[in-house]
């Protein structure tokens, strides 16, 4: 089973990371899910694939009452991001799913109805959670053509979806990046192959370098914090992406 860990807490404003499932079958990619709760409302970020729903749901239950989750944010349309939607709809049919407008006709194949989806326009939008507003920030073509990050200005946390993702070997299961150089080796092949656009990458790096980010939380692998956020942006900026190794 996965575990839910608090990565940010300030009064009733919390970020939970749901991570590392030792029971997960090896053929499934390991994913991180995040929950942002403010007051008595919460939004679940990239709830994960349907295969891991039991694990995510149970881990979450141990730390938070999931009846208070009214919103889901899906960074993009991949099955490891959002194929559990049908299960979340079983649990709460009124839940709303924020996703790029590009995918509102595709993701219903996983679940949801006409009322479920709130399309996010290309420039992004604010998403109210409790008394605060989180910001959906464009990250298109990194890797999905309709792709968004979610920024929490109060907590200074950026949920970056597949950007910053690392496929960690067994044994390296720390929640945070501890040694940047060693860590980034596990992220390189992923970024070269999955990130498709050099221009989009440069735009993203410029945009995020201008933001106040204490923690960069990817959907796979460890979380970057402090100076490692800057290091990641610099590393990504100079990386040659969108190429198949021949």
């Amino acid at each position: 089973m996965k575990t839910a860990q608090v990565i940010y807490e300030n009064g009733d404003h919390r970020w939970l990371a749901i991570v590392r499932d030792p029971d997960r079958p090896g053929y499934l990619i390991d994913t991180n899910e995040y929950l942002v709760s403010i007051g008595d409302e919460a939004i679940l970020l990239d709830p994960g694939g349907s295969e891991i729903f039991p694990s995510v749901f149970s881990a979450l239950c141990a730390e938070y009452d999931p009846r208070r989750i009214s919103k889901i944010f899906a960074s993009h349309q991949d099955p490891d991001i959002i194929s559990s939607l049908s299960m979340w709809m079983e649990f709460n049919p009124d839940i709303k799913c924020y996703i790029s407008w590009l995918w509102t006709g595709f993701v219903p194949h996983f679940g949801g109805t006409d009322e479920t989806f709130i399309p996010i326009p290309d420039p992004g939008m604010d998403i109210p959670v409790g008394r605060e507003r989180l910001r959906a920030v464009p990250a298109h073509y990194l890797h999905s053509s309709g792709n968004l990050n979610l920024y929490d200005p109060k907590a200074r946390i950026l949920f970056s979806g597949d950007i910053g993702a690392a496929l960690l070997p067994p044994g390296e299961s720390g929640l945070f990046v501890e040694n940047f150089d060693r860590h980034i080796a596990h992220a390189e092949a992923f970024h070269r192959r999955w990130m498709g656009s050099e221009r989009a990458k440069r735009d993203w790096c410029a945009r995020v370098a201008d933001m106040d980010v204490d923690m960069l939380c990817p959907q796979h692998g460890a979380i970057y914090r402090g100076d490692d956020v800057r290091r990641f942006i610099d590393w990504f900026a100079q990386l040659d992406v969108g190429a198949v190794k021949s």
Partner: protein
């Protein structure tokens, strides 16, 4: 009731159980701390509080057992979520096959019928049975826990009696054992809620 309402209800029931488990775990943690304080207090009271000291140690063990029992329950609810998930998936597939069946005839329909018969008697029923079994085991564990809590109540009551012999520490020991009694009563209420969430 529609199938979605049933499985959704099942998930919400699991959440209610988990909320109760969390509250018992928090209370058990409190009892553990209280028992530690009681042990120190009894030490200070010395000879007069020997019986009280033994009971405090027992109460501490009780709190640990209770925490363990809650972990067992939590693992069980995890199993239930997995079964509900499997049930939903099977149901979904059945619905699709059902639709396919209504759109074909002759040989194709015969094939689908055979397939459906196999499925119905295997996975779907199995998942439902798994859920029923898990619920029975959950009920049994809650009943076992109720017995454990009963023991806790007895310990707290005995501590109260022992407190009377505590000499100059009597008032302080009495205060502590009343706290125990009140806190264990809280757990009693949680357990009642738990057994109510069972069905």
């Amino acid at each position: 009731m529609s199938q979605a309402a049933v499985t959704g209800g099942e998930l919400r029931r699991i959440v209610r159980i988990n909320e109760e488990i969390k509250s018992v775990v928090a209370t058990a943690f409190k009892i553990n701390l209280m028992a530690m304080n009681a042990i120190f207090l009894a030490k200070r009271a010395g000879q007069a509080a020997l019986g009280f000291s033994v009971l405090s140690n027992e109460l501490r063990r009780f709190a640990t057992d209770l925490q363990q029992q809650m972990e067992v329950l939590r693992q069980m609810t995890h199993g239930s979520v997995a079964s509900v998930t499997a049930l939903v998936k099977t149901e979904r597939l059945n619905r699709l096959v059902e639709r396919m069946r209504s759109e074909v005839s002759g040989q194709a329909r015969a094939i689908i019928d055979r397939y459906l018969r196999n499925r119905q008697t295997t996975s779907f029923v199995l998942h439902e049975e798994a859920i029923a079994t898990q619920n029975r085991r959950l009920g049994q564990t809650i009943a076992d826990t109720a017995q454990l809590v009963e023991l806790g109540s007895v310990l707290a009551r005995s501590a109260k009696i022992e407190a009377a012999y505590g000499g100059s520490f009597s008032a302080a020991l009495m205060q502590v054992s009343s706290d125990f009694e009140r806190t264990i009563a809280e757990i009693h209420r949680s357990l009642e809620q738990l057994s109510r969430h069972q069905d």
